[in-house]
Symmetry: C2
């Protein structure tokens, strides 16, 4: 309605008060008479006044932007994860008047993030991926920019949010053990990832807790596509009852290989996964797996960042819960 560019000065003039007063009425900061505040608020509402966030930011030295760093080089299967987390971040960001500035960057290429920080375009950063040696983290720590990692990191003094992989994996493994499985083949990805270590830990914990001996010859780690195919045959020959995959990429690879070998699931081989992305969502039979809430993870990451911006407490690590999804892929 009407001119979209009415400023605080216009409002002040129209109401015969000072800009200071208008500003206070809007922000709620500073003493102001109740009647005056109402009058200003009413006028603002009626004339559809929109504060200029940029100007506000300049005066307060804030931008109301948070930077989300997402991978350029990604594995296809991870994309839905990143996307869901971003949706979660946006949800709590926008509730708090913040927007997302996107920074797509390759492993440890910090140029783009550095430019954004140098230009002071964001108040804080969320990293969607981390590495053992992580130049993004080092840059942020050096520049003392508040940040949160979605996923775990071993860097000290870092606020991080992650799924509770190790507990989840332990619980799923315990479920299988309680169902009577003993020869459970574990198929894992690169051991250099922090998340792989967490999952492995959960696996071990379950056996320890159940007082059952692991079968070392059934543990296959650092599997790529080809190695996974070969491992399926090996697992079969070693009489595995169940193949437990660390992620869905591996799992769909395993399912494909079993189909090719005409080994039926679950009659001849049971299958379960430590993860549950949409890649597997329409599988027949439905796969016993773990379900994490990635959107929630994004929301929590954002919430922790906003907390830091509001005056940080000590850095903290938050682990999110999960659900076990028991499907018919492990029926016997």
């Amino acid at each position: 309605m009407g001119n979209e560019n009415i400023t605080i000065a216009d409002v002040a003039a129209a109401l015969g008060v000072s800009k200071t007063t208008v500003s206070r009425a809007i922000s709620g900061k500073g003493r102001i008479g109740d009647a005056t505040r109402q009058r200003v608020l009413a006028y603002i509402e009626e004339h559809n006044y929109r504060p200029n966030v940029i100007a506000k930011g300049l005066a307060q030295s804030v931008t109301f932007n948070i930077c989300v760093v997402m991978p350029d080089d990604y594995v296809l299967v991870d994309l839905p994860f990143f996307h869901e987390v971003i949706v979660g971040i946006q949800e709590t960001a926008s509730e708090n008047g913040y927007d997302i500035l996107l920074c797509v960057s390759r492993e440890n290429e910090t140029g783009h993030l550095r430019r954004i920080l140098d230009n002071r375009k964001v108040d804080g950063v969320i990293l969607l991926r981390t590495f053992l040696k992580d130049l993004h983290i080092e840059l942020l720590q050096e520049k003392k920019i508040p940040f949160v990692t979605a996923g775990s990191t071993l860097y000290r003094n870092t606020t991080q949010v992650d799924n509770d992989h190790s507990s989840a994996c332990a619980e799923l493994t315990l479920l299988l053990l309680s169902r009577g499985f003993r020869r459970i083949a574990l198929f894992g990805g690169a051991e250099s990832f922090v998340v792989t270590q967490s999952r492995l830990l959960g696996y071990h914990e379950a056996f320890a807790q159940a007082l059952i001996d692991e079968v070392p010859e059934l543990i296959f780690m650092n599997l790529d596509r080809e190695a996974a195919d070969a491992a399926v045959e090996t697992a079969i020959s070693r009489q595995a009852e169940c193949i437990l995959c660390m992620d869905d990429m591996l799992c769909s690879q395993v399912l494909g290989k079993l189909r090719m070998l005409q080994v039926s699931v679950p009659e001849e081989m049971c299958v379960a996964s430590y993860y549950n992305s949409s890649v597997l969502s329409h599988n027949v039979p439905d796969i016993t797996s773990l379900s994490f809430n990635e959107r929630e993870l994004g929301k929590e990451a954002c919430r922790l960042l906003l907390e830091q911006l509001a005056g940080a407490d000590a850095p903290k690590k938050l682990l999110l819960s999960y659900q076990i999804v028991e499907g018919s892929s492990t029926c016997r």
Copy 2:
């Protein structure tokens, strides 16, 4: 090195010149002595001065941000497309000093974009998806915000970039015809999508150009998962020689169904696709398909938007080229 927050005033004071002069040296606008400019530039370089983009923006009424609107509700197979386009956008955006403000939104839910526009946080917008009735487009036109669509739209006065689907589909179809295929089954998605129409057009054009009659009973449109499975059986019973899929989702569905039916590709049935995402990239045999450069699409979309921001010409529509990838899935 040293204090990171040196301002234009500091530089001016240190050099005994005015802020005006410093500003001119940096921007290159306005008359300034060569010696003075060099002196300023040298000082700036040495002391690692970084202009405050926000302040600059406030003075010039620009933000150096472009908003990228991406879907919240997506089909898994489309995610890599969006991601690649964004990477392309970022590339040319950052070359020109712009950053990406992300807006994830559901079909025709304009609330989030509206907030961003009301807050004047961006100079222009790129839409990664469009609808026949598109409230985002209508909002942008109403507010007179420069924007570009990645993908075609029928809205008038709209700058758009798209892959040249119809030409590409025509050419691929012609290739199949020239290889002697006559009974080509077409498997298509929802006819309400603009892109589906373009592809259909290409299919028709090819037959017309080759002066060969189409086989209407082999054209299957509006296929969902289940319908696609059924259509495979129908196509076989109607003695199709080749199944031509409009997208990779359909194609991987078709391949799965053929495998299930123990129909070998290409010996018993040839397969081709009007698209080529990473979903099919490791398929055996390799699928004859079309290859588009999505990153380039993003770069062009961004370039066109920046052109508009620099003082728009007339709206234009840009069609990007493609490549035919002939794989062994259509060998006979």
